[in-house]
């Protein structure tokens, strides 16, 4: 009894998110160590919007990965949305009209993957490997490697709309989404279905869950987030270009995995992903401050990814056996 009590306490502490939390601390310490200009909340806040778009997608991606699927086409979809929206606006459509269309397009792009995966039962990894290059390809076909800009004043610069004069809008959105989605995952039955589908699909089927339907919803959700992110980047940059967010899918997957979500599905948390998002932002910011070359940054992040996965794996194992 005594022992089990200790166990449960230990369990509370040694949860998968722990590993990323450790890194959260490390990244702050390391950041302040390597650069005096680092610890400046205003500055950090102002750099966050640059990554928020990926962060938002990462949230929906967490759901998908908990359900045991993966989508490599996320960054490409983001780009395609922003490019199509830009083209539509250029062709004389009003921005008010473009926004819903952009969101809708995101939804469609997500569902396209979802339908292919659920209908053909082909691993999502390979399906989305295809759509990844297809979506970006389409964006390229659409506007070559030029760029489209010149959007209405009110639309451009979402990252410069501040809440309480310090917190940029994208971050507000990100935090809100994190909270809402975490609640849905942990407190509602839909959340349970997602977890169930990911941990043991067969059992889910026998427990009267439309596995495919759940997955479809999640792909749709992801698509929607891609739509939001696409429009956000359009607003932040005030331009669309086919090369925007190249390789973003890696950053996103990195965030999700860093957050302690199991690649095999069945376990994960939005808080973890949000933390991971912060860690990535902090690391990138501090490393950029000392003008560390991006390739070296990749090295650091790649290294961190592997370490965290191993650690999370250990923690998960610990959680399973009591």
């Amino acid at each position: 009894m005594e022992n089990t009590k200790k166990n449960s306490v230990a369990k509370k502490i040694l949860r998968p998110e722990l590993s990323i939390f450790i890194f959260f601390i490390i990244s702050i310490v390391a950041g302040t160590l390597i650069s005096p200009d680092f610890l400046d909340l205003k500055y950090i806040l102002s750099t966050m919007p640059l990554y928020t778009e990926l962060g938002i997608i990462a949230l929906a991606f967490t759901y998908l990965m908990i359900a045991g699927e993966i989508d490599l086409s996320v960054a490409s979809a983001l780009t395609l949305v922003s490019c199509v929206s830009a083209v539509l606006y250029q062709s004389g459509m009003s921005m008010e009209a473009v926004i819903p269309i952009g969101l809708l397009l995101g939804l469609v792009l997500g569902l396209f993957n979802g339908i292919l995966v659920t209908v053909t039962k082909i691993p999502s990894l390979i399906i989305t490997l295809g759509s990844m290059s297809m979506y970006r390809g389409l964006a390229q076909v659409l506007i070559g490697d030029g760029s489209i800009s010149g959007f209405p004043e009110w639309f451009v610069g979402i990252d410069r709309m501040l809440l309480f004069g310090v917190v940029p809008m994208p971050i507000v959105i990100f935090v809100l989404l994190t909270v809402i989605m975490e609640i849905i995952l942990k407190k509602t039955f839909f959340g349970r279905k997602v977890v169930a589908v990911g941990s043991q699909p067969q059992v889910a089927v026998y427990s009267a869950v439309h596995v495919d339907r759940v997955k479809l919803v999640l792909f749709g959700l992801l698509g929607l987030s891609e739509g939001i992110a696409g429009l956000m980047s359009l607003s932040r940059l005030g331009l669309a270009k086919y090369s925007i967010g190249v390789g973003g899918e890696l950053d996103i997957i990195t965030m999700v995995l860093l957050g302690g979500t199991a690649f095999s599905g069945g376990r994960g948390s939005l808080t973890g992903t949000a933390l991971a998002f912060l860690v990535i932002v902090l690391l990138k910011t501090s490393m950029t401050l000392v003008n560390l070359r991006r390739m070296d940054q990749l090295l650091v992040i790649g290294l961190m990814l592997i370490i965290v996965i191993i650690l999370t794996d250990k923690l998960n194992k610990y959680q399973d056996q009591s």
């Binding site: 390597i34 000392v290 560390l292 070359r293 650091v300 290294l303």
Partner: protein
């Protein structure tokens, strides 16, 4: 316990990798290429060069991309001048050619409060806001090698390698001589939307309209997207398609080397002539083996030096940038500011089998 150990290991690993990387920042310590500190340098500059009195000349250069050799000489030039003047020089760049990638880099420099930011912009319009932000923070923003055409108001000045118009006219002239004024040729460009490329092609066409060029016949303009494999395939296709093809004109370095390889592969050295923009070290073999009859470029190192001198002038003697004003460009003498605050680094640099060995970049 085991977990604690692991956690510890992580911390170690990360911190170490971080430190390890910071040890090799920017382009690392490189021996100066500019041998003599120009004697013509004005007194106050040399005074400023005294260490200790480095009243914070802090210059950061942000090229388009890391690992792109084109920018190395530019960076070198900047570095030599700035460090000779006792200032601090840093270079940082993104790993992908993504217009958004440069923004956090610039933000970081603002946060650090450097004096001058030199940027080779990835996009003509993605940087406006962040540039304004920088200038509002009292930082001089200089476009380097490329201008943000149409958004000139968002930067203080722009240093480009040479008058690119001149390069265009010069290329087609030389090309005509190589072709003995007659024959069919194909232009292999980068992408359909690259301003520089399109301007060059416009100039070619403008010249071709003239009577003395009448025998020169532009068959087609193809685009290699600046990818080696793609450019190569395009070049091969061109050679395949046109029996009468006599020349390949390439306003981009990737296409130039691809063209040379295509000609070699087809065994048409000397029968299909190649001319275009290329670095000495890349063109070297092809010029000597007679695959290519010539190449044109601008002295990128010189461009860097001029930019560096400009930074010095601005920070040390509050040099004011306006059209017509001149400043001392060190060993390259006076540099003048022309329209739209553009400064030309120097005249075009023409490479032939004979002079290519004189340059190493």
């Amino acid at each position: 316990m085991k977990r604690v150990v692991i956690a510890f290991v992580i911390c170690l690993a990360l911190v170490m990798s971080l430190v390890g990387c910071t040890k090799a920042p920017g382009s690392g310590p490189v021996e100066s290429q500019a041998p003599e500190q120009p004697s013509a340098a004005p007194a106050e500059t040399s005074a400023a060069a005294e260490p200790g009195d480095a009243k914070g000349l802090h210059v950061v250069y942000i090229p388009i991309q890391t690992g792109n050799p084109y920018f190395d000489p530019i960076s070198q030039g900047l570095q030599d001048v700035v460090e000779a003047a006792g200032g601090t020089y840093e270079m940082t760049a993104a790993d992908v050619v993504d217009p958004t990638a440069q923004i956090p880099l610039i933000k970081a420099q603002i946060q650090k409060g450097v004096d001058v930011i030199c940027i080779s912009p990835t996009s003509v319009d993605a940087l406006n806001d962040v540039c304004d932000e920088a200038r509002a923070a009292g930082i001089t923003v200089i476009m380097l090698n490329d201008d943000i055409t149409g958004n000139e108001s968002h930067r203080d000045a722009c240093v480009i390698g040479t008058n690119y118009e001149e390069v265009g006219y010069r290329s087609i002239e030389v090309f005509k001589d190589i072709m003995n004024g007659e024959g069919d040729f194909v232009v292999i460009s980068a992408t359909t939307d690259s301003p520089f490329q399109n301007r060059q092609i416009e100039i070619y066409k403008e010249m071709l309209a003239k009577p003395e060029y009448s025998k020169l016949n532009l068959l087609e303009v193809v685009y290699g997207n600046d990818e080696p494999e793609k450019s190569l395939t395009e070049a091969q296709a061109a050679i395949q398609k046109y029996d009468t093809l006599k020349g390949l004109l390439c306003p981009t370095t990737v296409a130039y080397i691809a063209a040379c390889q295509a000609v070699q592969n087809a065994g048409l050295e000397g029968k299909v002539l190649v001319y275009g923009t290329e670095f000495p070290n890349q063109a070297n073999e092809f010029l000597k083996s007679g695959v290519s009859q010539g190449a044109i470029l601008w002295d990128t190192y010189r461009m860097g030096v001029v930019a560096g001198e400009l930074c010095k002038a601005i920070v040390f003697d509050g040099f004011e940038i306006k059209e017509g004003a001149t400043f001392n460009a060190g060993k390259y003498g006076e540099a003048v500011i022309s329209a739209k605050n553009i400064i030309y680094g120097g005249p075009p640099l023409e490479l032939t089998a004979d002079n290519v060995d004189d340059y190493n970049f």
